[in-house]
């Protein structure tokens, strides 16, 4: 038993969220969770491994079905407290294959083999003494134990639970499997480690690695977003046309078709980003709902008219950028815009507007470009997008999505709704990072590829933006 890796059996009454706790701690969103007693029918081990070496294992178990009958059997077969653990083992041995005690055997077997006990209760329903039979059985096993007060509903009876559970368990913790922030996962794991001296080191190592992994994921997410931004900002839709086709279509229709295809492609790319961020955080089954990536027609990125206006009037450009950015969820650059737009305009202001204000003079590259005839064919190309606000909109949406994903526990099964919001958060981003982002956008729209170091700079600027968003969210909450 000494050198055995720690095993924790997550046990309890049916339907109290045992599987949710395991799903969150093992970052597995493919564990069956339902509001139906008996969803978990057999014990299932979820080992945490480091380079293939097991550090600890969580065992999800079915709930108690016949605790009083088990306790009756145990009491009838025991002489003194010292034989309690052995009696429990005997019970499991004797009742293997007995249909009535399948669940009890499944949940007691790992404990009799040396697992620690994680007893889960639902703190959103009133405490009752009716659970004492199962708690007594657990106490009979003599294994170190910890009680977890999960919270399935909205009510809170956790205080009464806490004092009652304290009589049966070494440690009592509150842990909301669906909503607990990551730091609480770590602190809970550390608490698991406190149950037995031998377990402290592996659990400490696990928490260290988990937080390192989380830090790394944040970096990787920033890189994924940076790549997507680069792709989106420099995408050019091309189409080769024969002379007949050119004669048959007007430039406007051609532009319309290409624009439509351009948008489709951009949306698809954005979706790819969403999925890769979700997979990065081991969310394989999220159902997501968000507004489609689009642009209000009065701010059409490619309209000749709009662009002419923009080339002429910087103020108009800032104004147009302002509106579009607010929709997309970018922030306000009060320093550069405050004087030109007045206090009223600051309400939903946009960093993107500052970008267009400064770079407006250069927004003259035509979006639709029909090349010269070559071998009887012409190439019509569309894009890349000339307005850097587009990039800020995409960035805002991506960071918002990342935040929800990185803060979502794997026990969560509800729809992920990303609402378009009126955010001010980008205004907190430091000047250097803003400049990096703007610089990358500019290179992209001129179709110049980014060097390795520029890519890295963009990614770290985005990581900075993510940190700012995180702060903003926490302070708002």
């Amino acid at each position: 038993m000494m050198n055995q890796k720690p095993v924790f059996a997550v046990v309890g009454h049916p339907n109290k969220g045992k599987s949710s706790v395991v799903a969150t701690l093992s970052q597995n969103d493919a564990i069956a969770i339902a509001l139906e007693p008996g969803t978990t029918r057999a014990g299932q081990a979820y080992p945490l491994t480091v380079d293939g070496q097991e550090l600890y294992t969580l065992v999800d178990t079915p709930g108690f079905q016949r605790p009083r009958r088990v306790l009756q059997w145990l009491e009838a077969h025991s002489l003194s407290a010292s034989d309690h653990p052995e009696t429990v083992r005997a019970f499991v041995l004797q009742h293997r294959g007995d249909d009535r005690f399948v669940d009890e055997c499944e949940l007691l077997a790992p404990i009799t083999e040396g697992a620690g006990i994680i007893y889960v209760v639902d703190g959103s329903v009133p405490y009752s003494t009716e659970h004492e039979a199962e708690m007594t059985i657990l106490r009979w096993t003599g294994r170190p134990s910890l009680a977890l007060i999960n919270s399935i509903g909205d009510d809170d009876y956790s205080d009464t639970w806490q004092s009652a559970l304290g009589q049966f368990f070494q440690v009592v913790r509150k842990f909301d499997a669906v909503r607990a922030p990551f730091e609480q996962h770590l602190s809970l794991l550390r608490a698991f480690g406190q149950l037995e001296p031998d377990w402290e080191q592996p659990l400490e190592q696990a928490t260290h690695l988990l937080s390192e992994q989380r830090r790394q994921r944040r970096q990787q997410a920033a890189q994924l977003i940076a790549r997507a931004l680069e792709d989106l900002m420099s995408w050019q839709e091309k189409r080769t046309l024969t002379l007949d086709q050119i004669a048959g279509t007007s430039d406007a229709t051609l532009a319309e078709t290409l624009r439509e295809r351009w948008y489709q492609r951009q949306r698809k790319r954005e979706q790819t980003l969403r999925v890769s961020i979700e997979h990065l955080y081991q969310h394989q089954r999220i159902q997501r709902q968000e507004a489609e990536l689009e642009w209000a027609s009065q701010h059409d990125l490619f309209s000749e008219d709009t662009r002419q206006h923009w080339a002429v009037s910087k103020k108009y450009l800032a104004g147009a950028g302002f509106g579009a950015g607010a929709v997309g969820g970018a922030g306000l650059d009060a320093l550069t815009l405050g004087s030109s737009l007045g206090a009223g305009a600051l309400i939903g202001g946009v960093l993107g507007a500052a970008g267009s204000y400064f770079y407006g003079d250069r927004l003259v590259l035509p979006a639709l470009n029909i090349g010269p005839i070559k071998d009887g064919l012409k190439t019509a190309s569309f894009g890349p997008v000339q307005d850097s606000q587009f990039g800020y909109v995409v960035l805002g949406r991506a960071v918002d999505h990342w935040w929800h994903i990185s803060h979502r526990n794997h026990a969560g099964r509800d729809l992920l709704e990303l609402e378009p919001a009126d955010h001010h958060w980008l205004e907190q981003l430091d000047k250097a990072s803003r400049r990096e982002i703007q610089k990358a956008f500019d290179r992209c729209r001129k179709q110049r590829s980014l060097s390795h170091s520029q890519r890295q700079d963009l990614a770290s600027a985005i990581e900075q933006a993510m940190a700012v968003y995180d702060d903003w969210r926490l302070n708002r909450a």
């Binding site: 339907n15 299932q44 480091v50 108690f64 009716e130 992994q213």
Partner: protein, 469 residues
Amino acid sequence: MSHNPLRLLLDFDDRIQRDRDQAPAFLHRRDRRFALDCQQRGQSPDAALWLEQMERLSGPGNARQAGRAVQQRWRRINGGFAAAGAVFGVLTMAGLLFYDGGQRINVTVIIAFVLLQLLLALATTVQSLAGWQPWSWLQRRLQAQPPGTTLAQLQPALMARAAHTGGSLFALTGLLTLLVMLVVQDLAFGWSTTLNTAAQSYHSLIHAIANPWSWLWPAAEPSRELVEATRFFRASPGSTGTDPVQWGQWWPFVVMLWLTWVLLPRLLLLALSQWLLARKAERLLQRHPGMQALMYRMETPTLDTGNQHNDADDLPDTRTRARPGQLQDSQYIICWAGAGEPELPQALLAQDSRVLKAGGRASLAEDDGVLESLAEQLAGERAPSVVLVTRSWEPPTGELHDFLEQARARWPDGTTLTILPLAPDANREPAEHLVQPWLRFTERLPAGFANVALLPALPDNPYHTGSTA
């Protein structure tokens, strides 16, 4: 596989580009595994070993080798420069030594040409060090696709190497041509300049130029007498009366001049550019973001949180056709596992009913007692019925199932059981998702025995109205 740094860098860059779309978790697993394998073999993992492993695993016949393609292209470019240099070397030297017997060959011209060559060679190296590419337009035109960012950074060094290769061949064939010409022809060298230069100062110049080799081959440094004797003026050809042998005595100087100030610098600079290229490639590899990421992946343990198991689709069937019915009046109420504590809802207490407790803290023997006493009392009833009050939030367990099966066996036939799940606030209706498991539970019991009911809704519930008023 012996990798040269350039090839290593380019192959590595290409591999990293190809990995861009891979999931980070996969990359981490793959590279950590490689590092651990290396550790086991006692090797320290590096880029060359890593690439070797990647190539070995992808098997033979892998046509995509970016490094080799680039190397071949530059080999061709170098070859072109070398061939052109060789041809120009012959032509240039033949031109410089053009001698029809009338005029002397002017050593001053040769010195000037050598100086020009030297300057060009230095300029090539300086420009490559500065990263300036005056010929990039030509390259853009010749290359089908723009070079990647890594290759683009190496272009100046690569181009300098090609230029120096051409220059070296130029110098070499020039030297050979010179030697051949010396053998097959008699050449008359002299010196000439429009400037009013004394033979003395010209000799000092020659002395300075010949400094590097004068100790090695004294004959290759023209003496002051030779310098004085071989000055010529085109306006008075052959007027000095110099011995014709003396005109030829300049050749060792010309040979050493070419060898030392054209060929040697070119060869040295070629070697330098080769070294610079290798060093730059090594540096770029070390600083490659892919390299840093790879190192991180190799050094950091992979963490698997136990997310392989997937039973998300293995959910229980939660459909039910049963619907909760109305509460039937019954004299007998069983409170299961503490339900109805501290107080039963008013609707149940209104009648003169018997309340029994079972489940939960009650012992199994007490449960038996309840079943037994009810069996006796129900025997006399015309339409025996029992209400079982439960806590809606504590889902039905096996224990309750056992209890009801025993009840059905012991109670008179035709006894109906109504299960009444209560909400935490006993006078409210329980949430629907909490009632569902109870409905499904009755379906698992023998047909017609049990059904679920909810408390009568407002306004028939006087207690409820009273409490919310």
